[in-house]
Amino acid sequence: MSELAFFIDYSRCIGCQACVQACQECDTHRGVSMIHLETVERRDTVQTAPQVCMHCEDPICARVCPADAIKKTDDGVVQSSLKPRCIGCSNCVLACPFGVPKYLASIDQMMKCDLCYDRTSTGKKPMCATVCPSQALSFTTLDENQKARAGTPINEWKFGAEVVRTKVYVMVPPAVQTFEVSGLVQLGKKRAGSAGQPRPRDPNDVADLLEET
């Protein structure tokens, strides 16, 4: 049996925020939610994307921390900043390739998802993955994941020349093995369909769906 691992499947997410609400209820950070639920662009789609800490093998947040306040446990969980050490500089906030750490001005400290270490270290599942009603967030073994899911779990991310490996997996369509993140970033690029060209059909636009081809 393989060890328990965290899997994110964005295609299952229904945006209900059960994860956000449940994260607040975790005993170690009561009242503050450490998970981000991104609404991609509500005008265009109902797609939402939950983001927990990816728990990098070589955490960049820890590397850039001038106060050495971010520690990784032996079992690979990257912890929130240590209160006595964190100087609130936000280096980690800026450096994280997944946009996870948050600086909380009220306590002058960075806090982030620690995989509910109080729960996972005693054999329980993280709060978010336990309650997630769509199981877009799940905590199970790689074997069980592969038995129950059609997609491929990947945990290797290419940012240009840099490869980041994470403890957390993301489910992608079968056949995808690694993810070229930089290939997705096309900031400022204009959408197709400028003057003279027919606008491509938008599969998320109900008006387009209603037009007979």
Partner: protein, 740 residues
């Protein structure tokens, strides 16, 4: 008489709704709980298992209950935050009496009960027994639902009792009885992942039954195909193999069109139809004209979608139909459901693993709440109040003469119409907030203002309770115990976590005290909800919804028991209709031919846009509870108008503009939410808010002729950009009906 006793601002300042954000004792760690109580969520008919943590006799938090088979620890945000109600500052902690010009003043329990009993006796004495009515709710436990029906029939002896399940499950219930003979989802949820094709019709599963999403996704992982019918691209529709953005009210076009294609292509099970059904020829004749092109005009979608739906649904080996209010909230709600059910019967895919259908109940006890006799036409055990044999059985259980049991009353909306007409002069209301949830709000308010006496049992002062003469502070589900029947027909037990707060009382005790005041104390001499359940078991014995074999001990040991369960050694019935034995006396399923007809009010030149209403994931029903839970209210603090960019552009409306949505009956002003995920001929406003933010100011008081469900899903409106609203209500906080 019952206009507001003080300004709405004063009432809100004193009684809320206001947001409550922190658990008892604050967020600081408080060590291990004294006990952890295995119980269920109060919000919605899924009835997810949950554990409530109790310390110093206060509910301080929750812990997922992963061993409960239905949800295995999964919860939606409402479940996560449900525990925030017990210590809420808005809780009613004393009976209240209306104080003209001042609002409400606390009075003693004996005084409050005495005033209510005196009003009941006076009104019934002067105007007849049916001049006093009872309105109840489908979030009550089975025990309380049973008690309310008995209270009306035995203590008050009024025919005028109905419940807010009338706004929820009645279309599905009536259709199920007509087609299959039993009013219950046919399958346990464990059949959903086994289906090869799933048809979700008018059910925003992601927001209104969130944990069902995983069941559907599990089927998808196996390669199942998903078809979704909805005027809006809901979160699960985004991943459907076929999303049919049907025009609200056009569902029969899709269903009849699919059956037309299925018959043409031989995607039906002739052997099953011949052996186990009646009425196929009439249905085949009815759908003959529903060619894809004809059906598409009704449905408002391209014809190819209807063909594709038939191609996905028709030849599959296993299949599951799920429907909810989207096809049920119509003046043809029963017919919509029957047309969908015909697709199940024609394929013979029912009563087997991975084959069947389910109606997704909305309210906490949407299923059980309609079986125990609080519906105007039913006695316990889903018995018929006009059936002499059924009446005799209940007369025996209750120890009353059969002729003393009133006959059929009227449905919730008709009951309010009788109040408006002056025929009903007194009202006892529990678990119902009609001043958010009923259509045509101005009419409802006028009706309440005409009551000579109005008593409300509630734990918060709901918008409706503001019009009461007497308010009796009741209990939350976690402050009492009792059973509820979930969406699958699984009877589960809510265990008591804490006592009601000082000053409030358990609902069932209040009802028993009122019965005693009316001289019927001997018929209501219960020591506990378990006593009531024991009587309910006997009352339901031999009925369709037979609970006789279900005990609280069995429920705990077996993690729920499915009715019918006629004897203690009966295992219960998770899946109905196995071996193709249906609930009708002839044992067959009855096809029902259905012909499409327009809604009572279709868009026209004056009111050119179609308004449809519904729910959001963060709120429950009238919002009286969830608008008070800070974290949930924050998630969706005020209603909005979803509008497609094309319609928005035509009307000069931009994102977040204030817009007025106006029908012939009333209007709301909300913010615009411009989204491509809705049909351009339709706007959507969620209904959980009161006053000038109540979508039901616009909706139409038109009923399905059989189920008497209101037509919430379609009425005609105008939409226009307006200035920021001003005035007393606009200035209230959004959870109270204001706007930001």
């Amino acid at each position: 008489m019952a206009k507001l006793p003080a300004s709405v601002t004063d009432l809100v300042n004193r009684f809320g709704p206001r947001r409550h954000d922190v658990p008892p004792g604050g967020w600081a760690p408080r060590g291990e709980p004294d006990r952890v109580v295995k119980t269920h969520c109060c919000f919605c008919g899924q009835q997810c298992g949950i554990q409530l943590k109790v310390k110093d006799e206060r509910v301080i938090g929750f812990e997922p209950w992963e061993d409960f088979p239905f949800n295995q620890g999964k919860l939606c945000p409402k479940g996560v935050k449900r525990y925030m109600q017990d210590e809420h500052p808005d809780r009613l902690l004393s009976p209240l009496a209306r104080a003209e010009g001042r609002g409400f003043e606390p009075i003693g329990w004996d005084d409050a009960l005495g005033r209510t009993v005196a009003a009941m006796q006076r009104i019934q004495g002067e105007h007849g027994r049916d001049a006093y009515a009872v309105l109840t709710g489908a979030s009550l436990t089975n025990e309380k639902a049973y008690l309310m029906g008995k209270f009306a029939r035995v203590a008050l002896r009024t025919a005028m009792i109905d419940y807010n399940g009338r706004l929820c499950m009645v279309s599905a219930a009536a259709a199920s009885k007509k087609v299959f003979g039993i009013d219950r989802s046919a399958n346990p949820w464990s059949d959903i992942p086994e289906a090869d094709v799933i048809l979700v019709a008018g059910a925003n599963v992601a927001e209104c039954a969130p944990i069902t999403t995983d069941y559907i996704w599990r089927a998808r992982e196996r390669g199942a195909k998903l078809i979704v019918l909805d005027p809006r691209m809901t979160p699960i529709a985004r991943h459907a193999d076929l999303f049919i953005p049907v025009r609200s009210g056009g569902d029969i076009g899709v269903f009849n069109g699919m059956l037309h294609v299925m018959i043409e292509r031989g995607y039906i099970d002739r052997a099953f139809i011949d052996a186990h059904t009646t009425g196929f020829d009439a249905v085949a004749a009815a759908v003959a004209k529903y060619t894809p092109e004809y059906a598409a005009k009704i449905a408002g979608v391209p014809a190819r979608m209807i063909v594709e739906a038939a191609e996905l649904w028709g030849p599959a080996k296993t299949s599951f139909l799920m429907h909810a209010r989207g096809i049920e909230h119509h003046s043809k709600g029963v017919e919509n459901c029957m047309a969908a059910m015909n697709l199940v019967v024609a394929t013979g895919r029912i009563g087997k693993k991975g084959c069947g259908y389910a109606m997704i109940t909305g309210q906490g006890n949407g299923q059980g709440g309609r079986e125990q006799g609080q519906k105007c036409d039913q006695l316990p055990g889903a018995r018929d109040i006009e059936n002499p044999e059924h009446r005799r059985h209940m007369a025996e259980v209750w120890g009353v003469p059969e002729e003393s049991i009133p006959h059929k009353g009227v449905s919730a909306v008709e009951l309010v119409e009788k109040i408006h007409a002056g025929e009903i002069k007194g009202l006892l209301l529990i678990c119902f907030n009609p001043l958010v949830s009923l259509p045509d709000q101005d009419f409802v308010r006028e009706a309440l203002e005409k009551l000579e006496h109005f008593t409300v049992i509630d734990f918060f002062l709901s918008e409706t309770a503001r019009h009461a003469d007497v308010v009796l502070p009741g209990s939350l589900l976690e402050e009492d115990e009792g059973t509820i029947t979930n969406v699958e027909g699984r009877v589960i037990l809510h265990q008591k976590a804490v006592d009601p707060p000082a000053g409030a009382r358990a609902d069932w005790k209040i009802i028993c005290d009122l019965a005693a005041g009316l001289g019927a104390g001997d018929k209501f001499a219960y020591e506990s909800p378990r006593d009531i359940f024991e009587e309910l078991r006997r009352a339901s014995r031999g009925g369709v919804a037979d609970y006789y074999g279900i005990t609280w001990e069995r429920i705990i040991a077996e993690k729920g028991v499915f009715w019918p369960c006629p004897s203690l050694d009966h295992p219960g019935t998770p899946r109905l209709y196995e071996g193709a034995r249906f609930g009708h006396p002839d044992g067959k399923a009855h096809f029902q031919p259905v012909e499409w007809r327009p809604a009572v009010e279709e868009p026209d030149a004056d009111y050119p846009v179609l308004l449809t209403t519904g729910r959001v994931v963060a709120h429950y029903l009238s919002g009286s509870q969830t608008r008070r839970i800070g974290a949930l209210d924050e998630q969706c603090p005020q209603p909005y108008c979803e509008i497609h960019p094309r319609l928005a552009e035509k009307l000069g409306i931009a994102e977040a503009d204030f817009v007025e949505v106006a029908s012939r009956r009333g209007s709301v002003v909300v913010r615009a939410k411009v989204v491509k995920t809705i049909r351009p001929d339709t706007v959507f406003v969620p209904y959980h808010w009161p006053l000038e933010r109540a979508a039901n100011r616009c909706t139409i008081r038109a009923l399905d002729p059989i189920s008497k469900i209101p037509e919430y899903k379609i009425c005609a409106v105008r939409v226009r950009k307006v200035d920021r609203p001003a005035g007393e209500v606009a200035e209230l906080s959004p959870e109270a009906g204001g706007i930001r």
